[in-house]
């Protein structure tokens, strides 16, 4: 399968300024070197706890934030991507690299390129109450991408809006109402309609089911899968709710403190987690079956702040199998077999032997 999206060592840091002259005293390393690929028409799950940087990663891919370093390749041919990565390592100052990057690397886009990118990549936010302008009619909310991108105006736009509303399962009467007149699940559908009206190829779903009731979550999940089939969409499903990610994603990646610790096909990750953090995370999920109760707490301690991540492997202070090398050297993300990537010294040493 071809890759729709490829990230190469993406970094996004937020400076913390202090002192009289507001100099940069420290950085919040929200995304600290993430590389992954998302294939066409798949649902890629991104899991992690608060502070791990998954939302920042999603928004950086969308260029709502400007990345500090690294590359984002969207719908670029394989060979070009390879060449850019090769040139970056061998000859970072070459003119050819700059020209190629300006054309293919989303991280460097500006102006018109960025504008046309917005049409192809969209986002659905977590809380539909705050992501829809409370003073705009539903019709205007959904038609906004069309107007802004210049795709359609007036009557034509209205027709497209009605079409997409029908596809997400809402009636026409919603057009001339305000968002706050609807329930949470319906508002999320309006947000989905807004994201899809310009027929994007890639949609980032930032915890779309978290603020919604349990009984409505199933409805939304059905909607996501149907729409994916119908429009040929590619999703990046960001969530901290592992049970939902397990249901809907084809491949899953787990993040911790700005870096990926493990990623593989869904079945592999959930039935055979290799990284200690993944194991603890999956064991922490409460199973809705009282006959299968946890005996002990899977993971103690708190997530450290992303301002000063621990040296070496970032998980070592809480890791049950931490070794000496974990305190000094950061593990690389290596394939432990069957395209199951893990960043752990213990696992890596096993696969090497």
């Amino acid at each position: 399968m071809t890759n729709l999206l490829q990230l190469s060592n993406l970094k996004k840091h937020y400076p913390i300024r202090g002192g009289v002259f507001q100099r940069r005293v420290a950085s919040v390393r929200a995304v600290d070197g993430v590389s992954l690929t998302v294939q066409k028409e798949e649902c890629f799950g991104l899991v992690g706890e608060s502070g791990c940087g998954k939302t920042t990663l999603g928004k950086t891919i969308l260029r709502l934030f400007k990345p500090d370093s690294g590359s984002i390749f969207f719908d670029a041919p394989e060979d070009v991507v390879e060449e850019i990565i090769r040139l970056k390592q061998k000859d970072p100052r070459s003119r050819r690299l700059r020209a190629l990057r300006r054309q293919y690397d989303v991280a460097t886009y500006r102006g018109v390129d960025l504008q046309s990118l917005r049409r192809k990549m969209q986002i659905v936010y977590q809380d539909p109450t705050t992501s829809l302008d409370p003073r705009m009619l539903v019709k205007d909310v959904i038609a906004e991408p069309l107007t802004v991108q210049g795709i359609a105006k007036g009557e034509e736009a209205k027709k497209m809006v009605m079409e997409i509303l029908e596809r997400v399962g809402m009636s026409d009467r919603a057009l001339y109402r305000f968002p706050h007149e609807f329930s949470g699940g319906q508002r999320q559908r309006i947000a989905i309609a807004r994201a899809l009206v310009s027929r994007p190829k890639f949609v980032i779903l930032d915890e779309p089911t978290s603020s919604v009731d349990v009984s409505v979550r199933a409805q939304l999940l059905n909607l996501f899968t149907d729409l994916q089939r119908e429009f040929g969409l590619t999703y990046m499903f960001i969530s901290h709710d592992l049970s939902i990610v397990e249901c809907i994603s084809h491949r899953v990646a787990i993040m911790y403190l700005g870096k990926l610790v493990e990623y593989a096909v869904t079945d592999e990750i959930f039935h055979n987690p290799l990284h200690p953090y993944s194991q603890a995370l999956i064991a922490s999920v409460p199973i809705p079956d009282p006959t299968r109760r946890r005996k002990s707490v899977p993971l103690t301690g708190e997530v450290p702040s992303p301002v000063n991540p621990p040296m070496g492997c970032r998980f070592h202070p809480r890791c049950p199998i931490a070794m000496d090398i974990c305190k000094k050297k950061e593990p690389e993300l290596l394939d432990a077999g069957k395209e199951h990537y893990v960043a752990c010294h213990a696992v890596n040493s096993l696969t090497e032997t």
Partner: protein, 419 residues
Amino acid sequence: MSQENMVDIRDLEVKFYTYAGVVEALDGVNLFIKRGEILGLVGETGCGKSVTSLSIMMLIPPPGKIVGGRILYKHGSEQGNILAMSADSLRRLRGKDIAMIFQEPRAYLNPVYTVEDQIGEVILVHRRKEILQNAVSNIEKKLVEDRRLVLEKQRVRFEKQKAGNEKDKVKLEEPGALLEKEVSKLTVKPPSNFEVGIYERLIRSPRSRSVAFQARFSRKRQFKKELRKEVVRVLRSVEIPDAERVARMYPHELSGGMAQRVLIAMALSCNPTLLIADEPTTNLDVTVQAQILNLIVTLKNSLGSSILYITHDLGVVAQSCERVAVMYAGNVVETADVFETFSKPLHPYTRALLKSIPRPGEPYKSIAGIVPSLVNPLRGCRFHDRCEYAMEICRKTKPPFLEVKPGHYVACHLYGGLK
């Protein structure tokens, strides 16, 4: 675990009189909590679970009003119908017998006071006498200790002088006399008699204004020390590492998990018999949630309190609760043991809820329709428009809350009561 019901809610009705109309939030809720058990209250947004918990504490804000029903509380210093209690009794009840923790912990901590001050406040409201008594007894102990030390020193000197040179004709004093000078040389400074007097007067007449006024001008060092000790002890009991440092922190310096632990500490500081937990782990990460759940269960076992755990997450309920009550649109529709509820759910809503939990590999089943608006609720059973087993009678009459099997209560026309 006694069979006795500690809190018994019967036919509770709560209405909110808003500009948009009268919202019938609770429509005859029947719920009971036994001693020492964890009851999970499950339901979706708007079903009335938070309103129920606030009613138990009589904390419904206007425009809400409790318009019917009884809440019988059968334990502790205050007994009887909570809805009919006087304001004084309620104040004694809240915090001491019934405590509550909430969803967003940092919203319920005052940002301008340290953790120590806030937990101290709760302890002071309910256990002031105890702390004062501790202070007094510690002072007395210290005084006794001081006297003993001084006596010891004098005795040693006496002995030395007796055994030593006759030429040093220093005036020998009896070991019994307590020298002021010796006392002042001690590194441990005993509190003044004034302070002890204030404490004793505060214990004897806690409401006297003149005593309170005098108390303001004394430094109350021992008292504050006792309070601080108690706060640290409570913080340690909720497994907060480095409790002394955390006690001096401000709420914004705490992470979500820590703040929730602090809230739990505050709630448990006066050993309540009932702890109401209103979605305490919903906003927390899943690993922290596991820790907090474990903590709550451990504390319940050690303190013997009952817990009313309100949540919409069925996984959490399955992991930690002993009994489950399911609510829908202002009614409790089913109450049963947790194993029963998950394996043999009776009410159609419970069944649909359990079926709608997403499982990998299976198609996702949801419940048709949307949660009804409570401004003009449906007549009869409030679930009938979404129920797949709806009958004629469901449209007209509200189903009674009956015990269908021992310990298993359902409100549905499909089931009759135990004959």
